[in-house]
Symmetry: C2
Subunit: 301 residues, 2 copies
């Protein structure tokens, strides 16, 4: 299939995937009656109706390589998305990155308040593990436990949360490309990598297949972050729905700041090509995974 | 065994249990090198060297009823304690209950800062599921998944986090005993109940045994909370290590405020006796569980 022809099916598939995730999250986050409805509404505010749903799409496409039923991959992908949504709520808090806008609307603590935002994040994180541990995700408990374990490692102190800690401290450090690569790998890369790994776990992939997906997802994650920095530098505020140039203004080191626009673009392109090369063993079944590697660096928001 | 004789073994057993938990948490929270050591130190600050470790003790004593090896019960109990510690850090934040002291020392966000405290809580919550999902907790994945699922339900939006949400909103509500009972059941009761349930899950208890432990733990949890309110009203600040009368001063409804000291004491005593009655089916093996029911209302801190 030519590249031009491949784009429409990818975007269609991403839309269908996003819709399925939306429906699933909607059903998981049904608000009860009583005062705790506020908590659920806050959780829904930051989980529904937005986002590219790239992480669950990676899970679903990785799972398809191994013939995993969509209903299971959807649950694992949704768990990854729940962790992603919680991290955005907590990262936006005044005590953290202090962002008033997210996805073109007030961030959670602005729409609700700091306390509700903290609790909504806590509850979303907890619900991710609830989704994974439920027998609908996989009939075998060993598989469910492996998913839980993988997500804790990607999301916890040695993964995403650790990355956010270093990122906050890095404002006072002499940052170089090696440091910001490490921050990216922990803060955003680990969860993107687990999104793919979840598909492999569900599908009981062999070591060679797991390793190929790991390398692919590491490169896609890094390319995605460099593209974020490029959009931050070059994009318009109305395009990406939050204040641009914010990281640079805050004195944070970025790939673009350290490498310059041109070299950053080249590096993202190289990572994209390298990521795609790892998918060779999967043949045509990996068409959408190839597409998403290109999407990571060609997207405009 | 007479009551007087039973007290010394209980306090010895609690001390040994607390020591084992301390050692285990210390090994789980080993700080890495690099800037993220700050995150681990913050996690350690609020997890090590303090607390009665009542929840893990409940897990270990419940597990013993069914002949579960201590090494497994210790891990499940530690997971409950990690959730408890995370909840204290987040509850103390300025945006939440705004407490500057906890267990006789500055609360986490005072010793570190708000951002680090938020992240430390997030990471402790995540690590609880990591401990449960590891094969050392139980060789069967189904058992591990059941533990994970149970903890998510006790700790999440329909449990502890939901209870904290209602508690924050209750300041503006006309609170009665029914409302504060519901808040207690969610905010502190659910996790205490899971502490016992975890032992039953590890031991593959039958439905009658599970139900007995559930009733026992619900009553112990409520008695424990009423005692907290009594200590808050009657205790001295230096005794319980945080500002007393705080809940009452904040206009929060408490059991003591609504019932008066005497009726609250009577209710706690009744709950304690009722809790103990549920343990009859376990015979002598439940001696320490009986002891902890008394400890819940006889303790001085």
């Amino acid at each position: 299939m030519s590249e031009a022809k491949a784009i429409a099916p990818l975007s269609d598939a991403m839309s269908r995937g996003a819709e399925a995730i939306e429906q699933f999250l909607d059903s998981v986050l049904t608000p009860p009656e009583g005062p705790e409805a506020r908590l659920f509404n806050s959780m829904r505010y930051s989980s529904l109706g937005g986002g590219k749903r790239m992480r669950p799409f990676l899970t679903m496409q990785s799972a398809r390589l191994f013939g995993v039923p969509d209903s299971r991959a959807l649950r694992a992908g949704a768990a990854v998305e729940l962790v992603h949504c919680y991290s955005l709520i907590h990262d936006d808090l005044p005590a953290m990155d202090d962002d008033d806008f997210r996805r073109g609307k007030p961030s959670n603590h602005k729409a609700y308040d700091d306390a509700t935002a903290i609790l909504a994040g806590d509850a979303l994180l907890t619900s991710a593990f609830e989704v994974l541990a439920h027998s609908d995700t996989h009939p075998e408990g060993d598989v469910r436990s492996e998913l839980v374990l993988g997500l804790t490692r990607a999301a916890g102190a040695n993964g995403m949360v650790g990355g956010q800690m270093i990122d906050l401290l890095a404002e006072d450090m002499d940052a170089d490309v090696s440091l910001i690569s490490r921050i990216q790998r922990l803060k955003t890369g680990a969860l993107i990598a687990f999104a793919c790994e979840a598909g492999a776990i569900l599908g009981k992939a062999n070591d060679e297949q797991k390793e190929a997906l790991r390398r692919y997802s590491n490169d896609v994650g890094l390319a995605f972050q460099i593209k974020d920095d490029l959009l931050d530098t070059l994009g318009k505020a109305e395009d990406i729905g939050k204040a641009t140039q914010k990281d640079a203004d805050a004195g944070k080191a970025t790939f673009v700041g350290l490498l310059g626009v041109e070299e950053a673009q080249q590096r993202a392109e190289l990572l994209c090509q390298q990521a795609i090369s790892y998918l060779e063993i999967f043949g045509d079944n990996a068409a959408h995974l190839r597409g998403i590697a290109r999407f990571a660096i060609d997207r405009r928001t």
